[in-house]
């Protein structure tokens, strides 16, 4: 059913020196990083993409898929909705680091990089990254460092740019000493630099000419695909055609040019049932089943179905406001920690297809605490919960106010709630429910106008935001969404800040774990419950689709092909 990922063969072959460390924890992957070389750290050079083990790839064919909502534009500076899904196909990043396998780098526009004194990143711009043919009047030239400069100029001057948060907090300076060299200097060592500044959400680099044009509904770059003129509809679909100028080749297939797929057709199908119908009828090539039972049903309907299982880098959490009673009491927060039977959510909601979370969710294996350690830090113990409530000076049951959306489209949100309410009743809490319509709940959650709430779920591909929820000013560092236990214990903020300050992945992973242990000792106010397994199924004709890399990294891969 599932095949072994071929991707691990890549990049590591090109690293001349490395330090390999074993990391414990569920699903852990080995960590490796190029060692120091002279005064800085040279990153591995990239350039080619591997073939796969599904046979000899053939060019051609149209891959059809569907999105479930609006694009939110295809503007590389501001798009946060579905747009980033194709921005990685249209544009380029410098170097993208897989957040879930930190030793895996994707070298795109930069063939090499060097890190000097942990804050200066020197990128060597790869020659031959050529802009696609287009009707926008942009010359089919190679991208160079001036495009990188223009890109950062645009971000730093646009109030609505997604990456502006990074540039405001972390970026010190940038310049282009030569057309083939681009330099960025951070204000301090930043562990998530490669992910943050190279993610499709705000981190892709358009040609500088595009920055002078309307990028909301059109665009051309040097990526693997080019947006078809007039095909993009904000509330509809989009078509992309293969970029004939794309620079990458497949070294496992005699350096054949990639992408193999000629065309991507993306339609919008909001409802699940028509999406499923379209997949079974062969109108689209991928679909997202909700449960393993649905996957098994589809396997019976479609022989040779490709099934992909990936951990969902998302979770729902219980959020407490530590500036309000009784959540300002450590023991009460600890009581909540022990009142949660996280395994029950896994068993009931996803029928066991998932695992419980610590403060960093289990899919981020390098950073998550082991199940054994979690058992000591957050054991389910409703009697202990009651005891802690009483030790805190409250009588049982302890009445607490709790807001939640009465109905929500957030995946599994509605299913978490009844389990939560039942567990709290058994553990000494009496929940005073305040059910709100979703948008009103979102407003109050955003402005931290609550005592306690379920959280939004969102995709957390690094541990950064997980931990930021525990800092005094919350995940956005400005008091929105949540206030962390750092409001009560400044050392928590210090530990979180320290965990971001190492660019050595081994050291950094340990700092992240130390920060979690400290937070547990203080009584966390943000408790992720569980993460589940996401399923994607693809038609049998789809070959060589990358596996196990995480959503963000997968977007950059272009060696899939269609056996039509």
């Amino acid at each position: 059913m599932t095949t072994k990922s071929y991707w691990q063969q890549f990049e590591r072959q090109r690293i001349s020196r490395r330090r390999i460390l074993a990391v414990g924890g569920a699903g852990a992957a080995g960590l490796a990083l190029a060692a120091a070389c002279g005064g800085g750290t040279k990153g591995p050079a990239g350039g080619a993409t591997p073939g796969g083990d599904d046979g000899t790839p053939r060019p051609g064919g149209t891959y059809r898929t569907a999105i479930t909502g609006d694009w939110g534009t295809v503007n590389p500076l501001t798009s946060v909705a579905f747009g980033p899904g194709i921005l990685a196909k249209m544009y380029n990043a410098l170097v993208f680091q897989s957040p879930i396998q930190p030793d895996v780098f994707y070298h795109d526009l930069a063939s090499e990089y060097e890190i000097v004194e942990d804050t200066t990143y020197i990128f060597t711009i790869r020659p031959g990254v050529k802009i696609a043919p287009n009707s926008l009047g942009i010359e089919e030239r190679d991208l160079d460092s001036s495009d990188c400069v223009a890109w950062l100029d645009a971000i730093t001057s646009a109030e609505t740019a997604v990456a502006k948060r990074f540039t405001d907090i972390w970026l010190d300076s940038y310049d282009a000493p030569t057309p083939q060299e681009f330099r960025m200097v951070t204000k301090g060592p930043y562990a998530y630099f490669f992910f943050t500044m190279n993610t499709p959400v705000g981190g892709v680099i358009p040609p500088k000419e595009m920055l002078e044009m309307d990028m909301n509904s059109q665009g051309v770059g040097a990526g693997a695909f080019v947006l078809e003129d007039g095909s993009f509809v904000e509330t509809g679909g989009a078509n992309l055609n293969r970029n004939p100028n794309y620079y990458r080749t497949d070294p496992n297939n005699n350096d054949a040019p990639v992408p193999y797929i000629d065309r991507l057709e993306i339609s919008r199908i909001t409802d699940r049932q028509p999406r499923r119908t379209a997949f079974i009828a062969g109108e689209i090539d991928s679909y997202d089943p909700e449960t393993i039972a649905e996957v098994e049903g589809l396997e019976q309907d479609i022989s040779g179905l490709n099934v992909f299982e990936d951990p969902a880098y998302t979770f729902i959490a219980v959020t407490m406001n530590p500036t309000k009673e009784p959540w300002n009491n450590d023991k009460v927060r600890m009581a909540m920690n022990h009142a949660l039977n996280r395994q029950q959510y896994v068993d009931v909601i996803v029928q066991g297809a998932g695992q419980i979370n610590g403060l960093v969710h289990w899919p981020l294996a390098a950073y998550a605490l082991s199940p054994e350690e979690l058992e000591t830090l957050q054991p389910f113990d409703p009697e202990l919960s009651k005891q802690l409530i009483q030790e805190a000076g409250f009588e049982l049951p302890l009445s607490v106010k709790f807001i939640y959306p009465a109905s929500s489209d957030i995946q599994f949100h509605n299913k978490h709630l009844p389990i939560f309410l039942e567990q709290m009743n058994a553990a000494g809490f009496r929940i005073e429910e305040e059910a709100l319509i979703f948008t009103e709940w979102l407003t109050r959650y955003t402005s931290v106008d609550y005592d306690a709430s379920l959280s939004l779920n969102q995709i957390y591909e690094t541990p950064e935001i997980n931990l930021d929820f525990h800092q005094a000013e919350g995940p956005t560092s400005d008091g929105n969404f949540a206030l962390g236990v750092g409001t009560l214990y400044p050392e928590v903020d210090e530990a979180i800040k320290t965990s971001k300050s190492s660019i050595d992945p081994v050291e950094q992973a340990e700092l992240v774990k130390e920060a979690q242990r400290l937070i547990y000792s203080k009584g966390p106010a943000f408790l992720p419950i569980m993460s589940w397994t996401d399923y994607t199924v693809r038609q049998p004709k789809v070959k060589n689709w990358p596996r196990g890399l995480g959503t963000a990294m997968e977007l950059w891969q272009n060696t899939a092909w269609l056996d039509t």
């Binding site: 609006d70 939110g72 109030e159 509330t235 509809g236 909001t270 079974i280 979102l442």
Partner: protein, 331 residues
Amino acid sequence: MGRYIVRRLLQAVVILFTLSIVVFILLRVAPGANPALVRCGLNCPKERLAALEEEMGLNGPLFPVSFSADAPIVDFHSDSQYGNWAQSLFDGSLGKDWNDNPVGAELQRRLPVTLELLIITTLLTVVVGVPFGIISAVARNSPADYLVRFSSVLALAIPNFWLGTLVLLIPQDQWGYAPPITTAVSFFDSPWDNLRQYVPPAAVLAAVSAASIMRLTRSSMLEVMRQDYIRTARSKGLREQRIIGRHAMKNALIPVATVLGLQVAGLFGGAIIVESIFNLPGVGIYTLGALLQKQYQVAQTLTLYIGAIVVLLNLFVDVMYAWLDPRIRYS
């Protein structure tokens, strides 16, 4: 009649103006998230949120005129949210959504989809509802009558979202069949695929409307068949078919025609559900999306647009009623 029409049109202007104010205010006072927050996405920093609010024009005055207790008591604003929206209606652009996409262009793309859906629905409603209503009336208390009446009650009772899901699910499950789902197929590009795509959702919508028309036709026919002139026609020796076709039907269908016109207006609401289930990119699903995402400009414009259609349809029905029944005269 001319004066009547002019008077109704003037009333329509007042109604639509009032509707515009009401929908404008309701969208802003309704509880829910700031539209800038919806657009900004999750983990949105305050600075970015503020910048988006400014870009989306959410910080400007609501109306062109405002009142305050302090001087100036009356203040005029050239750049108000309502004023900008009204201007976009009059200049034909119909405004833009938060991502700068023209509403007019979207309407142009989506209206043919909804119109075709409604036309086919109306045709099915008439083709199914009227004949079966007549049969039911003529063969009163017969097995055919009972069957037709039972079917109509069943159709009225079944929710159309459930019916629509079954219409999609059963053929797919049993025969591996599905209509085109990913994109809207134009009739001129492929008539067969177009009909495959539109007839099932139209049939789902028509189930309820046909049932209503069926019942109305039946009762209307029964009433007409009891009239003296029908008895006279029979006593003159006319064949039953001629009596029904020439004399009864014409008069029985007058109320049916007027109700049908009003039903079309109501179909806009039902279209949202079937457009969603069958993935038809029509006006209904566009409106729903705009409301959910707090797309003020889009929601306001579409609500006003649909309101205008309803008002004009009502006028059309009233005028047609007078044309169908010469006894009706409007002063």
